[in-house]
């Protein structure tokens, strides 16, 4: 998807190109051939698609202008045709823009950008215009009134199907009651068989755009469908971003390399990609060098007991520089080399170069390139001499590298490896590395892996021992970590652009480097609160939950997934739950079964969350609505008609997490509701049985009926509030609060008294027009009780209310 899009984006007018390549096919034919891809495969569907494209456009236009959208959709029957009218209160449109927006197929202002927007391809509205023109022969009628203008402008627009060029047939001033906005009128062959999809589309659009006001009139409706605004908050403005290095593909990269003004790869990376600065560019370049040039293996300088002498060898290699200067040069090279734990050919070269300059400055003798090269070669031989090398003199069969390799391999492999085997591998590998053909021991990781595998296979064959994948990988890792990135300058942009392999290496390097995720200000999630508000607005449910995930990245495009659940209330309980899918705030109404969202919902074990799920998998059933919104700079659809999300694992994971987050809230709501229901049932039954039992007990024992409230409160784990009086003239009122539950209860007890209370224990007293509000906020621990007292005249009335505890858990006897 990314590659097609970005590749297309590099060039203007793909349709013209297509048309040019297929002279004999007109744009009408092109449309006819591709209309299923564009969502116009039937009259029923064509109408929905046209509405959808026009409404999407209208929403985008109003939001871009910072206006709260007010959108009017009207469908009427006109003879054999349907007339579609869509009005918005956007900024209007100028004559110059007009053909571009409505006329030319595949003109798209969003085609090049990485920014979240509803339309992504610039096919939509112009396809609707073309469809109407092809089926009814009527032009598109457009009325526009830019903000601040007193008159509106009326246009009729037709697309020349031979040239794909729009023609403006009429252009006159007119009056329009909207202060600003755009009105499009299209006539088309259509039918209303997809009425429910149309309604779904409009309703879902309202859910996901709580800031929009939408009205729909169509022949089947007696009353217009009106969706009011739930918030005045416009979606956050999004900003455009450059591509992310993790999100490009080879073809795109090569095109970008060809097009860039930068000379160096570093400049190219920093200039063309988001989240790449100097440091990141350097990391990418280091990775690129490792791939392009390979790394150099660093070797130990010779130890005293070894048959090697750097100083002597360097001295031998220098001629005509005088004994003193030669001696100084050789001994300083030897000394510096000796100070290193390990060093590579490149490092040695650096050392020799530096010392040559210094000695030249001290002694006045010039150490030219030839001398330096000889010195480097001589010193390098003293570090890495390997006698078996083909070009080694017969009398000088030294091996300075096998022991070194042996030590590395021994460290890297498990102690259970037989030392003989390790030694044999070291010998075999030394032979292969020495004969690899580069005396600098430069290898790419894949070269290194290959040599190690080869050496290991050889030893396995020879000795009938095992040296498995893990051991090989450990050895390779150990050696790779001893290798150093070479200082060679990377090829420039042009060189890489021309060399497909180098470009592939650069791409790999980019992918391998850790780079910050792309910035997410290019995305405008609906946000948790507004998802919930949207659901609340359109569904009369008992419960709502919403979750917005943090931004993630797929293929260099950031995305955010949001989910919402509404449950119970007026939502129909029979059949499967209603699933609402959205991409960049656009409802997806077709191809539900092919959508990643649906797959994810089906894969979740809904029984865990308290929803029925026949068979334990598949779409859950019950009175619930599940909505999922994916916002991205590039939403991956399964096809151009943008009906279903493609199954991208990263996106599926986030969809699942978002849904589960909301579902967890649903679960705790349902659990609580169930336990409250149980409690209510228990309360009902016991509330009936126990008084009867008390009556019977009183009857049998011949006593008064006992007071059973205490027992009841205890049984129900309840909080009970009881009133007691004491005294005659002035009565002492006691409210006894007993907590029989197993948790602490924070209560808010308000007593309204008709006479002024005195001496209340704690609490506050407020006089309100002859009524006194006494309020306490006691915390009563599990199994404890609290006593609240005050004194009042004996003719006072009382009314107590208790908050802070569920009604089911409360027994008030006061």
């Amino acid at each position: 998807m990314t590659s097609i899009q970005s590749t297309l984006g590099e060039e203007e007018g793909i349709a013209e190109e297509l048309a040019a390549g297929q002279r004999e096919i007109s744009i009408a034919e092109f449309f006819e051939k591709n209309k299923h891809m564009l969502g116009f495969d039937s009259g029923a569907r064509g109408l929905v698609t046209a509405v959808k494209e026009a409404v999407d456009n209208a929403l985008d236009a109003t939001e871009e202008a910072g206006v709260l959208p007010d959108i009017y959709v009207e469908i009427t029957e006109v003879g054999d045709y349907y007339r579609l009218v869509i009005e918005d209160n956007g900024p209007g449109i100028t004559k110059e823009q007009l053909p571009k927006v409505f006329g030319k197929l595949l003109y798209g202002s969003r085609f090049h950008t990485r920014e979240q927007s509803r339309g992504q391809q610039g096919i939509g509205i112009s396809a609707a215009v073309l469809y109407s023109q092809l089926t009814s022969g009527q032009p598109a009628r457009i009325t526009s009134r830019p903000k601040g203008q007193s008159r509106a402008q009326y246009f009729e627009l037709i697309i020349d199907t031979d040239t794909n060029e729009p023609e403006i047939k009429a252009d006159e001033e007119t009056s329009w009651d909207r202060p600003h906005g755009t009105r499009i009128e299209l006539e088309m062959e259509a039918n209303m068989r997809a009425r429910s999809q149309l309604h779904d589309y409009i309703k879902h659009t309202a859910v996901v755009n709580p800031h929009a006001r939408i009205e729909l009139r169509e022949p089947g409706l007696d009353e217009p469908l009106k969706f009011e605004r739930a918030t005045d908050q416009l979606p956050a403005e999004t900003s455009e971003i450059r591509p992310h290095p993790h999100g490009v593909e080879l073809g795109t990269l090569i095109k970008m390399l060809e097009a860039t003004d930068s000379y160096s790869i570093s400049g190219f990376l920093q200039g063309e990609f988001t989240r790449v600065g100097k440091k990141t560019a350097d990391s990418v370049l280091a990775n690129f060098r490792d791939r392009h040039f390979g790394r150099e293996l660093a070797w130990r300088p010779p130890a005293a007991h070894e048959d090697a002498d750097v100083a002597a060898a360097v001295a031998d290699a220098v001629s005509n520089k005088g004994a003193a200067a030669t001696e100084t040069f050789a001994s300083r090279v030897a000394e510096t080399v000796g100070n290193h734990d390990r060093l590579t050919h490149a490092e040695l070269t650096g050392i020799v170069e530096t010392i040559a300059e210094e000695v030249a400055a001290d002694t006045g003798k010039t150490f030219g390139n030839t001398v330096r090269e000889n010195a480097i070669a001589a010193a390098w031989t003293e570090l890495t001499a390997y006698g078996d090398a083909e070009d080694a003199p017969d009398d000088e069969t030294r091996d300075l590298i096998t022991d070194d390799l042996h030590a590395v391999i021994e460290d890297a492999t498990s102690t259970r490896k037989d030392d003989g085997t390790v030694r044999a591998v070291a010998e075999a590998l030394a032979r292969r590395l020495a004969n690899h053909g580069d005396e600098r021991f430069r290898f790419t990781r894949s070269d290194l892996d290959r040599e190690i595998a080869d050496a290991a296979n050889f030893v396995v064959d020879q000795r009938d021992v095992s040296f498995g994948e893990t051991a090989r990988e450990n050895v390779a890792d150990a050696l790779w970590s001893l290798m150093e990135t070479v200082p060679d300058d990377p090829p420039n942009v042009n060189a890489v652009a021309e060399n497909r392999d180098a470009a592939a290496e650069l791409l790999e390097a980019m992918r391998e480097t850790d780079i910050l995720s792309p910035p997410t200000d290019c995305l405008a999630p609906i946000t948790e609160d507004l998802v919930e508000a949207g659901l609340r607005k359109e569904f009369d449910a008992d419960f709502y939950a919403a979750a917005t995930r943090d931004a993630e990245v797929h293929g260099g495009d950031p995305f955010i997934v949001e989910a919402g659940i509404a449950y119970g209330g007026e939502i129909p309980a029979d059949g499967g739950v209603e699933v609402m899918r959205f991409a960049n705030r656009v409802p997806l109404v077709y191809q539900r079964g092919a959508c990643a969202t649906t797959d994810v919902i089906k894969s979740i074990g809904w029984r865990n969350y308290g929803l029925d799920q026949p068979g334990g998998s598949g779409l859950p059933s019950g009175p619930a609505v599940i909505m999922v919104h994916v916002a991205s700079t590039n939403v991956p659809f399964t096809s151009e008609s943008k009906d279903a999300l493609a199954n991208i694992p990263e996106i599926e994971d986030e969809i699942e997490l978002a849904i589960r987050e909301a579902a967890r809230e649903l679960k705790s709501f349902l659990n609580k509701r169930r336990s409250m229901q149980k409690r209510r049932e228990k309360q009902d039954v016991l509330g009936r049985i126990l008084p009867e039992m008390a009556d019977k007990v009183a009857e049998v024992t011949g006593r008064e009926r006992p007071d059973i409230d205490g027992a009841l409160a205890r049984i129900m784990n309840n909080v009970s509030v009881e009133r007691e009086f004491d005294g005659d003239d002035e009565i002492a009122v006691t409210l006894r609060v007993e907590n029989h539950s197993d948790t602490n209860e924070d209560l808010e007890i308000t007593e309204i008294v008709s006479a002024e209370p005195t001496d209340p224990t704690g609490g506050t007293v407020v006089d309100m027009d002859g009524e006194w509000f006494l309020q306490w906020k006691p915390t009563v621990a599990a199994g404890e009780e609290a006593t609240l007292t005050y004194t009042v005249a004996d003719d006072a009335d009382f009314d107590v209310s208790v908050d802070g505890v569920e009604a089911e858990k409360l027994t008030v006897n006061a």
Binding site: I689, V697, E699, V700, P706, I708
Partner: protein, 362 residues
């Protein structure tokens, strides 16, 4: 109202008063009972019977189930108290049907097991027997036959009955409350409790009771309380040895167990119902082998029952362990009437005399 009845009534009212006090004290009404399972019966060395151990379970109004149980208990208490006051009696089954007439649907019994259990619960907590509540079981029809003269208090006055001379072939029918019987005179050497009607009739036909001065008690399967009670009294008051003659299968051993040790369900009354001196005469698994009796193979449920008996504390004696293990070993069971394979007189002429001699009863 008899003093006995007054006491029983007072005990019941006390129970209700206990619930009353719990309510009044703000407590959740509850009733504590010994746990009535195999694992909670213990041997009481003093009385030689098995009674309930220390484990208890509580019926509490805390749950809907518990509250319903207690409501039923209170209604039953009222019914029993009224019955005692009026000097009437009823059967357990009548109680079950009578609950339908109660004004409260919640208090009605859903099955007779439920009402039977509840009456037993009330026996336990009040310490009054069912008989003293004037609750009868359905007619069990168990009978006595043998040289015994007794006096029975009937509703129509006292009757003196000789259990051979004054009765027909069927014998003397044991009344529901055997404590209404007074033993007057007897010529009994031992009491023989017989499980099946067929064997009882065989013994009577062969004149075994006459020939051996034996009182034949027909158990009729799992013996009713009255049958066990009269057996206990014969043993206790007349000091007669008691032997039990059943089929040779695990279910019959349980019949012996409830006669001799007390049943698990009525362990609270073991002291009153069980006859610890009773001994098992047969059919023993050893007899199946010894007399080469016709037999059936043990079914799976027989094997399970035998294994469960091995874990039953009442059967954990050397004698029973040996017999049960032998039976599991041979995998066979035989009925009492299998003895007929050796002739109709074999049981009275050979088997029982031999076994009685072996046991030193005769």
């Amino acid at each position: 109202m008899a003093t006995n009845d007054q006491d029983a009534r007072a005990q019941l009212i006390d129970l209700a008063a206990e619930f009353y006090d719990q309510f009044a004290g703000g407590q959740i009404p509850e009733m504590t009972l010994p746990t009535r399972t195999k694992s909670n019966i213990e041997y009481d060395p003093e009385s030689g019977v098995w009674t309930y151990g220390d484990r208890t379970s509580t019926r509490s109004a805390n749950s809907v189930r518990g509250a319903r149980k207690l409501l039923k208990a209170v209604y039953t208490i009222e019914f029993l108290a009224d019955q005692l006051e009026e000097g009437r009696s009823s059967t357990l089954r009548e109680l079950y049907y009578l609950s339908e007439s109660w004004d409260n649907d919640e208090a009605q019994f859903t099955s007779q097991d439920e009402s039977n259990d509840l009456v037993e619960d009330l026996e336990i907590v009040s310490g009054v027997t069912r008989e003293d509540f004037h609750m009868r079981p359905e007619e069990s029809g168990a009978t006595l036959m043998g040289p015994l003269r007794l006096r029975e208090q009937t509703r129509r006055g006292e009757r003196e009955i000789h259990c051979q001379e004054d009765v027909g072939e069927g014998g003397y029918q044991i009344p529901n409350n055997p404590d209404m019987i007074e033993f007057l005179d007897h010529d009994i050497d031992f009491v023989l409790c017989v499980e099946t009607g067929g064997m009882r009739d065989r013994l009577v036909e062969n004149g075994f009771d006459d020939d051996y001065n034996c009182l034949v008690v027909h158990l009729k399967g799992q013996p009713a309380r009255a049958t066990r009670r009269i057996t206990r009294r014969l043993n206790d008051e007349l000091d007669l040895p008691v032997v039990v003659f059943t089929d040779g299968d695990p279910w019959s051993y349980r019949i012996f167990g409830s006669v001799a040790y007390g049943s698990i369900k009525s362990a609270h009354l073991s002291e009153y119902l069980a006859t610890p001196d009773a001994r098992f005469i047969g059919i023993r698994p050893a007899d199946i082998v010894e007399y080469d009796l016709p037999s059936d193979p043990l079914s799976d449920s027989d094997v399970n029952a035998l294994e469960s008996e091995l874990e039953d504390p009442r059967f954990q004696t050397d004698y029973w362990e040996e017999q049960i293990e032998l039976q599991l070993d041979i995998g066979k069971k035989s009925e009492q009437q299998a003895l007929a394979s050796r002739g109709l007189d074999f049981v009275t002429d050979t088997y029982l005399p031999e076994r009685l001699d072996e046991m030193g009863v005769r």
